[in-house]
């Protein structure tokens, strides 16, 4: 099993640390050539979605990742990753547009609105959740399974091979969300 981690900008090393802890082989994707390597899944990390989205397009990674998502490659997007996967972004530009969701960016406001909480996640129990200038899902299509909500807002969801969280499991020591993703492979 081998997981690619999109490493254009943001907290990608934190995902590597989680995968290393789970003994899962992984590598960084910084340009087109890296994406041609064999992989069983892809992680799109947190960071600034505007930056990662722009670099995806300019480094010619957008179409290949979009095609891979449509062809069933398991992809896990956290925070910025959730935004990049969404079909529609309120007051923003769609990037990959492969997940039938509408996402609000900076839904909790500025850094003073960042918070930590605990909530149940899709049958694996209560997990710690770290929200940093986080988005959430305002609408989800029928094919989308809602995995977690906080204060009535959707903060984790799955659509077949695609997993998205508004929070950062990689910033906690809890490996269960990554294990959940690996179980989708």
């Amino acid at each position: 099993m081998k997981i690619g981690i999109l490493a254009l900008q943001g907290a990608f090393i934190e995902h590597k640390i989680m995968l290393d802890a789970l003994d899962v082989e992984n590598f960084e994707i910084r340009q087109r050539a890296d994406f041609s390597r064999d992989m069983d899944g892809l992680i799109i990390p947190g960071g600034e979605s505007t930056v990662i989205g722009k670099l995806l397009a300019e480094l010619e990674l957008l179409e290949p990742i979009k095609n891979a998502a449509e062809n069933g490659l398991p992809i896990f997007g956290a925070c910025a990753g959730m935004i990049l996967l969404a079909q529609k972004i309120i007051d923003g530009m769609t990037c990959l547009g492969v997940m039938d969701t509408v996402v609000r960016r900076n839904a909790y406001g500025r850094q003073l609105g960042s918070f930590r909480t605990q909530a149940p996640f899709g049958g694996i129990g209560e997990i710690p959740m770290v929200f940093i200038r986080a988005p959430y899902i305002t609408e989800a299509g029928e094919a989308v399974e809602i995995l977690a909500t906080v204060d009535g807002n959707i903060v984790a969801a799955r659509q077949n091979n695609l997993l998205a969280t508004a929070f950062h499991p990689e910033l906690t020591g809890d490996l269960r969300v990554h294990q959940y993703f690996l179980s989708m492979l």
Binding site: C79, A80, S114
Partner: protein, 291 residues
């Protein structure tokens, strides 16, 4: 400040890693920076090169101007307060700034005490020339560190010197026996617990960016290769012929900082770089403000 808040503030800096934070003085510039791929902007009235040229006392920016910038971009907005000026910091917190830079670029307000950053909910980034200075700022509550470099010069030498010093001192600590760390803490004039963390983990407990004098894609990649986790670019963008193009090139160079072929392409036809001044030509060393 409760521990959770400090962790969340360190976490925001983690999200900025691998990115470029750009100095902007107007909403238009902020928009150009965001479109060029900045992961955050630093809102200030004058860029460091102009502060240096103008001389006189340099203070926190007009909060009205900062709010205008907050209104036009969706990325984090940072702003500077003077070293030790905790009321300027309170003002910036009141307008919900995402990060405060307690900065040597402005005229220091206190020549003894830095701000007690643990009393704030919003995060702080502080400059450092060496490991001891970085750890002292962290012990005061800084959630992110950057090299001081020499702002507004377009000369990379000081940023390189500071980053090499910090990284070298970190490597030296990792080779020490546990019983040698108390003396190391004394020499560094830094708290023992932080020295022990660095010795054990081989890194600072917070994210560490490069700042001061970055003017080209190659400068930015150089800083990444000597250990920076991201880059601040101040005067190096809006003091040049084609700010949008140069900014975008620096962003890409930071992502692919070891790909010399790409950096060569990015360095082509960027228009005029900032003229800059060499360290020997400077009368005022801002990096010497605050220790």
């Amino acid at each position: 400040m409760e521990q959770d808040r400090y962790e969340l503030n360190k976490n925001l800096a983690q999200m900025l890693k691998g990115g470029v934070i750009m100095d902007v003085t107007t909403p238009d510039q902020a928009k150009i920076a965001e479109d060029a791929g900045a992961c955050a902007v630093m809102a200030l009235e004058r860029i460091p090169a102009d502060i240096r040229a103008a001389g006189g006392v340099s203070r926190m920016s007009n909060p009205g101007m900062i709010k205008e910038i907050q209104a036009v971009v969706s990325i984090p907005v940072m702003a500077k307060c003077r070293i030790g000026h905790f009321v300027e910091a309170q003002v910036l917190e009141a307008i919900e700034i995402d990060y405060i830079d307690e900065s040597e670029v402005l005229s220091p307000a206190d020549d003894v005490y830095h701000i007690d950053k643990t009393r704030f909910q919003v995060p702080f980034v502080c400059g450092a020339k060496d490991l001891g200075e970085a750890l002292r700022r962290i012990s005061e509550g800084a959630a992110m560190i950057r090299t001081k470099g020499e702002p507004g010069t377009g000369d990379i030498i000081q940023a390189v010197r500071h980053m090499r010093k910090i990284m070298g001192e970190i490597r030296a600590l990792t080779a020490k026996r546990a019983d040698e760390l108390y003396e190391a803490a004394k020499q560094l004039a830094a708290p023992s617990e932080l020295v022990q963390f660095v010795a054990k983990n081989g890194r600072l407990p917070v994210v560490n960016f490069a700042a001061g004098g970055v003017a080209t894609p190659a400068d930015a990649a150089l800083m990444m290769q000597v250990g920076a986790e991201g880059v601040f670019v101040g005067s190096g963008i809006f003091k040049t012929g084609d700010p949008a193009k140069r900014a975008a090139a620096i962003v890409k160079a930071v992502t692919n900082f070891t790909d010399a072929k790409l950096i060569a392409e990015l360095s082509e036809n960027l228009g005029e770089a900032m003229v800059g001044i060499n360290e020997q030509e400077i009368n005022l060393l801002m990096a010497e403000r605050g220790k």
